[in-house]
């Protein structure tokens, strides 16, 4: 290892044993895309069954396995690892560090993921089928009444949590210790800030999730009754523990997305972010509030009215910092000089659709109204507006934005824009009508529905097929760029982009910032 300027190792070993943040980032990104396709395939089965009233393709038990695996794979396999991949690629480059602080652990936290998802997917072929109790796995459906495969599910969740905790510790250690001289906290790019806060959230709540599944394991195999009323336990306790993890989890998903958007909108508006400081404070207050709102998922379980009121007021409060973020992005665009390349289009798509998801979130936070919304398709519409149009759109924007930097080649702009428009139309066609059927009374997680809901469901299914198909275009565009895209050598790639990652050569060499860069105060945070 005498040579400091060595490149990657050759062959498969490069990927198995790598401790390079860029290699690990790349693996995370490809893995999460593969999971996105797998979770998407499950969604296509769901939407195909729901295309018309009546049971056509699958039986109700298998349908429940599909909704469960779709949720689990998308949340834990697609969205979360994709942002970890992005963090791996970008955080060292954004703060002027040579690599992540704990590179060997970094290798581990990635490599335990693929076997875990293999295990989870293999439950489909087990006696009794895959888990069929929803991604929220409420007890006792997930304990006393669960298929035997639940034990494998519990094991998978443990390993996923382990991976997330290791990844987060690494990010916290990197950001706290490896910033280049002059890169003070209040000069860090917002993507780094949002990830730092996310990492703290992860470290705080993943052990809670581990606790929940461990209690399930005990109930199933060791005769305890944490969640079984017959033995003196409490099924509602499960929901409190789950949502104490679950609500921060939704912010774990969206905060890095906020970070991405806060990098890209200024770049294509050619104007600095309007309120950097207030964005940092807003993100922190969202993170804080996310710990005291969990029971807004449980308004109908029969809490005392004082509890309902507390959780309602706290949840409504979250709208304030969320609003601050949206207003800041719009004001950043105001009187800029905008261009609309694919990353910007996806960010604008994010902005419009995430705001709609925020509005429905505010509606859901109103406890009495939630008595009608809860567990209906209205909730399904809400969380897809925030998770797909929020997290997935911003992730897509990030790939288009940084891909030229990563591989030194430009993607096909026309194809990128086409991808955006098809996604945007497909997405809205899928999820907007779900607000209607939800308000009209269609419960979620049902394999068949009343005739009155037929037209909107058919629309939804058509939209889903369109959105699904548009991802093939994305995959093609990315691969075509990597193998044969038009070479770019400008360090900046985008004329409005700011930040240290744009000061290294294009494509980014295997090792960057082996000597710390000088942080130019004028160029601090974008």
């Amino acid at each position: 290892m005498g040579d400091h300027h060595h490149g990657p190792a050759k062959g498969l070993g490069r990927w198995l044993f790598t401790t390079n943040h860029k290699d690990i980032g790349t693996m995370y990104l490809w893995f999460s895309f593969a999971m996105f396709i797998l979770g998407g395939a499950f969604a296509m089965i769901i939407r195909a069954e729901l295309f018309q009233p009546g049971m056509q393709l699958v039986d109700p038990a298998f349908f429940n396995q599909m909704t469960t695996l779709h949720g689990l794979v998308m949340v834990f396999g697609a969205i979360m690892p994709s942002f970890v991949g992005l963090a791996n690629w970008l955080i060292p480059m954004m703060i002027g560090a040579p690599d992540m602080a704990l590179p060997r652990m970094n290798n581990w936290s990635f490599w335990i993921l693929p076997p875990t998802f293999l295990l989870l997917a293999s439950t489909l072929f087990m006696e009794g089928g895959a888990p069929a109790f929803g991604w929220t796995f409420y007890a006792p459906l997930s304990t006393t009444y669960a298929p035997p495969s639940v034990t494998f599910f519990i094991f998978s969740v443990h390993i996923l949590g382990l991976s997330s905790i290791m990844g987060s510790i690494n990010i916290i250690a990197t950001v706290m210790n490896m910033r280049a001289p002059g890169m003070t906290y209040m000069k860090m790019p917002l993507f780094v800030w949002t990830w730092l806060i996310t990492a703290f959230l992860l470290v705080a709540v993943m052990p809670v999730l581990a606790g929940a599944v461990t209690m399930m394991l005990m109930d199933i195999h060791f005769g305890t009754s944490f969640f079984s009323a017959a033995g003196g336990g409490d099924p509602v306790l499960f929901q409190h523990v789950f949502w104490f993890f679950g609500h921060p989890e939704v912010y774990i998903i969206i905060l890095p997305a906020f970070g991405v958007v806060s990098q890209i909108i200024p770049a294509f508006s050619r104007k600095p972010l309007f309120g950097y400081d207030s964005m940092v404070y807003a993100t922190s207050s969202i993170a804080f509030l996310s710990f005291i709102v969990w029971a807004h998922h449980m308004y109908t379980v029969g809490m005392p009215v004082a509890g309902e009121l507390f959780f309602m007021y706290a949840t409504m409060l979250i709208a304030v910092p969320t609003g601050v973020k949206v207003f800041n992005w719009v004001t950043t665009m105001w009187r800029g000089a905008m261009t609309f390349e694919t990353p910007m289009l996806f960010c604008i798509g994010f902005l419009v659709l995430f705001t709609i998801g925020g509005f429905t979130g505010l509606m859901l936070s109103i406890a009495p109204a939630d008595f009608q919304y809860h567990d209906s398709y209205f909730v399904v519409a809400h969380f897809h507006y925030v998770m797909v149009a929020g997290a997935v759109f911003s992730m897509t924007a990030a790939v288009y934005f940084w891909l030229p930097k990563w591989c030194g080649r430009m993607y096909n702009e026309a194809m990128g824009k086409t991808h955006f428009w098809i996604s945007f139309i497909g997405f809205n066609l899928t999820f907007f009508p779900q607000h209607f059927v939800g308000l009209a009374g269609m419960p979620r997680r049902i394999p068949d529905y009343a005739l009155q809901f037929a037209d909107f469901n058919m629309m939804s299914s058509i939209g889903a097929f369109i959105y699904g198909a548009s991802q093939i275009l994305f995959l093609y565009n990315v691969i075509a760029t990597i193998v044969a895209g038009k070479p770019v050598s400008d360090e900046k790639v985008w004329d409005g982009a700011e930040g240290l990652e744009w000061t290294v050569p294009t494509p980014a060499p295997y090792h960057t910032f082996e000597t710390p860069p000088k942080v130019d105060p004028a160029h601090a945070h974008s």
Partner: protein, 381 residues
């Protein structure tokens, strides 16, 4: 009710239909796009609240998106603009933190009031105990002259409609054999619980949704002056047939309700009488087939071929010792989907379905079970 005429209308008419729905009382409406105000005071309050918040969101949305699209059209590089450089303004930040805060307080006040009325469970004139089962509801009328009336309410839509071999009826998946009957104008309190997993009892037009949690009893209430049939569904994932456990509430004039209740009581007395009767094999088979289709088919298959549960055809239990078979039918197999049916179907039905399982699907035991045998089995344990 009156869907056929409404079928003509397509999406553009959705909002109009929504307004009509308050009168037509069909629920849900075809292509309904908004929450129904329903037929209760609380429901209307919730609906108003929903419309207010929706309105506020729409107004804010128009503002935010208006500014954004103005900017997208006018502040684009292709128009030759030079970008401004302004950023950071404490005044602006304070403004857009404080103003939304006050808007939220404006929303919280009516929300709190409505929530308090939802929680006002006192002074009910009638109590109904609702128990969720995989996958049906049980209704029990409490305190009516000391004699509780109770019955199960199962999906009535036949498998043939679900599996598309027959045309689907008007109330596809939203119809039951025994609806919950309630008197109009009286405050009814629901005590809601579950027998196995968590379910959730939801009737949009009555604005009631409450989880049914095993081991706990939740409360909810309703009162409506408007007679009619209101349809809902289980709202909490409860296993395989979660999508197939609808709720139908029939609100009738109090006098009609009293008649109905008296009828139910007479029916229960009649069952008590039947218990003492001896049946022939044919009678038991006929009754048994109906019970089987209603209660057992979902898991054991239309032809006894099995599914969630094992096959009944040639099953060692169904072709073995009679008391072992009765034991499973009455007390179930704890910890599995095979529930204790002893408390769910009456002794006549149990006798019939056990006889049926022993003599159908190629099982040819030839023995028959009388209600008294079921009664004795229960006694003996």
């Amino acid at each position: 009710m009156c869907f056929n005429a409404k079928r003509l209308s397509k999406l553009a008419l959705g909002p109009v239909l929504m307004l009509l729905s308050a009168f037509a009382l069909a629920n849900p409406e075809v292509n309904q796009v908004n929450m129904a105000p329903g037929v209760t005071e609380v429901g209307k309050e919730i609906y108003d609240l929903h419309m207010i918040i929706l309105g506020i969101c729409v107004v804010i949305g128009i503002g935010v998106f208006g500014v954004m699209f103005y900017s997208i059209f006018y502040h684009r590089k292709s128009r030759g603009v030079t970008p401004a450089t302004f950023h950071e303004s404490t005044q602006v930040e304070i403004l857009w933190t404080v103003v939304p805060f006050f808007i939220l307080i404006g929303m919280a006040i009516p929300a709190t009031n409505t929530l308090l009325s939802i929680y006002d469970n006192d002074d009910a004139e009638l109590d109904v105990l609702i128990t969720g089962y995989q996958w049906k509801w049980k209704y029990e009328y409490l305190n009516e002259n000391g004699e509780n009336v109770s019955f199960f309410s199962n999906l009535r839509t036949p498998q043939s409609e679900i599996y598309n071999t027959e045309a689907k009826g008007e109330h596809y998946l939203l119809e039951v054999d025994n609806p919950l009957v309630l008197p109009a104008g009286k405050k009814v309190r629901f005590l809601i619980t579950a027998n196995d997993v968590i379910h959730s009892w939801w009737v949009p037009h009555l604005a009631v949704k409450k989880d049914a949690v095993p081991g706990f009893i939740n409360e909810a209430w309703t009162r409506t002056d408007q007679t009619g049939i209101y349809r809902g569904q289980c709202a909490e994932l409860c296993g395989k047939d979660h999508g197939f456990m609808p709720i139908v509430v029939n609100v009738v004039e109090p006098a009609e309700y009293d008649d109905w209740l008296a009828g139910k009581q007479a029916e229960q007395a009649e069952i008590a009488a039947l218990m003492a009767q001896e049946f022939t094999l044919d009678e038991l088979m006929e009754r048994g087939e109906a019970v089987y289709q209603r209660n057992c088919l979902a898991c054991h298959g239309a032809n006894g071929e099995g599914g969630v549960g094992p096959a009944i055809a040639a099953s060692a239990v169904a072709t073995g010792d009679l008391s072992g078979h009765l034991e499973i039918g009455i007390n179930g197999v704890p910890g599995t989907a095979m529930q204790a049916f002893g408390g769910q179907i009456n002794d006549v039905e149990m006798a019939a379905v056990i006889t049926y399982q022993r003599n159908a699907f190629g099982n040819n035991m030839g023995d028959l079970v009388q209600p008294i045998d079921v009664f004795n089995h229960k006694k003996g344990q």
